[in-house]
Symmetry: C2
Subunit: 259 residues, 2 copies
């Protein structure tokens, strides 16, 4: 069996999220990938992603792992899967990884992108791909709030209820704001994220940018864990899983096999 790692991009707007749902009629990215692999290999294949994404959330590069018992060369999975998959899921790369590699456990950093359209004008083309935000935004307040979130904190206030997490301490290495034309791109790189954490961060930052939330409330929420001090959960359509990082030694095949 080969341990294969795919890099998958998808437009989340037509999916009920990554994970296969009990209701069979819901389209999921996992479901589409498993169907395509079944068609190519003739075998039932389970795929595992670095993390689930909710309905409407996109991925620029989602790492996806599966065990392959077929004779298909690894390089052939990219064109073969892209022929078998619907157009809103694309395989960007495929490589063989060591038997011990684990797509969730071995991840050391993740980067999410959140896109906001700062405009009151309607636009039918970006509706599934960003959060349209029609209010004036103070960048100074945005940046001040972003700085408060960088570093290691107990982020339980930034976690949606219903999460199974027990440890809420996470480290945000970088939270950057990149305004461009009428778009604002927010990038968050961290060692891991709680359920809805990025969307609550974005909802909170924008409320601070609008002047309706004092940055001090963010500090208080980090100290007390109170979700009610923060802003709303930003909508899924602006969120993109951009990158998941692994240590080189986890990805490289061990060539020192016994002779």
């Amino acid at each position: 069996m080969k341990n294969v790692l795919l890099t998958v991009a998808y437009d989340g707007s037509g999916f009920s999220g990554w994970q296969i749902q009990e209701k069979k009629d819901q389209r999921t990215v996992q479901g589409e990938l498993e169907k395509a692999l079944m068609r190519l290999t003739g075998q039932t294949v389970r795929v595992l992603a670095s993390g689930r994404t909710d309905a409407g959330v996109h991925a620029l590069a989602q790492p996806v792992q599966f065990s392959d018992g077929s004779t298909i060369p690894v390089e052939a999975f990219v064109p073969a899967l892209n022929s078998a998959l619907p157009q809103d899921v694309r395989v960007m790369g495929a490589r063989q990884v060591p038997e011990e590699f684990h797509v969730i456990r071995d991840a050391v950093a993740k980067t999410y992108l959140y896109r906001i359209r700062l405009s009151a004008d309607p636009d039918p083309f970006t509706r599934n791909f960003c959060w349209q935000y029609p209010y004036p935004v103070n960048f100074r307040a945005l940046e001040k709030s972003a700085t408060l979130l960088e570093g290691t904190h107990d982020f339980r206030a930034f976690c949606a209820s219903g999460s199974s997490a027990r440890n809420f301490v996470r480290t945000i290495y970088r939270l950057s704001l990149e305004p461009a034309d009428r778009m604002l791109e927010i990038r968050v790189r961290g060692n891991g994220f709680l359920y809805n954490m990025v969307r609550i961060i974005v909802g909170t930052l924008m409320m601070a940018g609008q002047g309706r939330l004092e940055p001090e409330r963010i500090t208080e929420a980090l100290e007390t864990g109170r979700r009610d001090l923060l802003g709303p959960t930003a909508p899924p359509r602006g969120l993109y899983l951009q990158e998941v990082e692994y240590p080189e030694q986890c990805l490289n095949q061990d060539r020192n096999l016994p002779e």
Copy 2:
């Protein structure tokens, strides 16, 4: 009755084109607008566009005319229609125009935009919004071919069969090529366009850019009317109706009404 002119933008990817189809289950932009107007005014309203667009073709600013017998102020149509319409059709503006104004007859120039993604990498996000073109392109050849098409010509070679046109002479005021990053934007401004004319122009330009069609064949096609000398019809998903121009005096309400 008020003569009302709307400016409408739509993402064409979810529509069987502008025009209401005989098959009732096909989504059309005209159908959605008429449904929304019926809901707002309680009356059966027919809307007329400056030109039909095919399935998958987009509009940044499609002028749409209708006769309004309601008491709704013209300014109120923008927010009211946008509340009643699906998210892939947006009304950008509404104004009252003179009784004699006619959205098709009075148009003096139209501009279409065609977007091409010059890349072999797959991308699930742009699939409905541009033509993905994975081949190397020679810009010198593209520009030479574009120049040949500017001006007044008999464009019958650039017209899809099945068109009801009798006069094939049109004037292209400007055909511009704007490369940006991995995108190529082609803009065509002219006094009018035959059925599929822009898409045949784009298919022909790209074939010339790829070095598979000598620019001389374009000259020959203009002289002979032979469609077979030209390139393929580019796919609808890259095409956007960008602007339709009217003389100011057609748009302005005559204020010299009898006292």
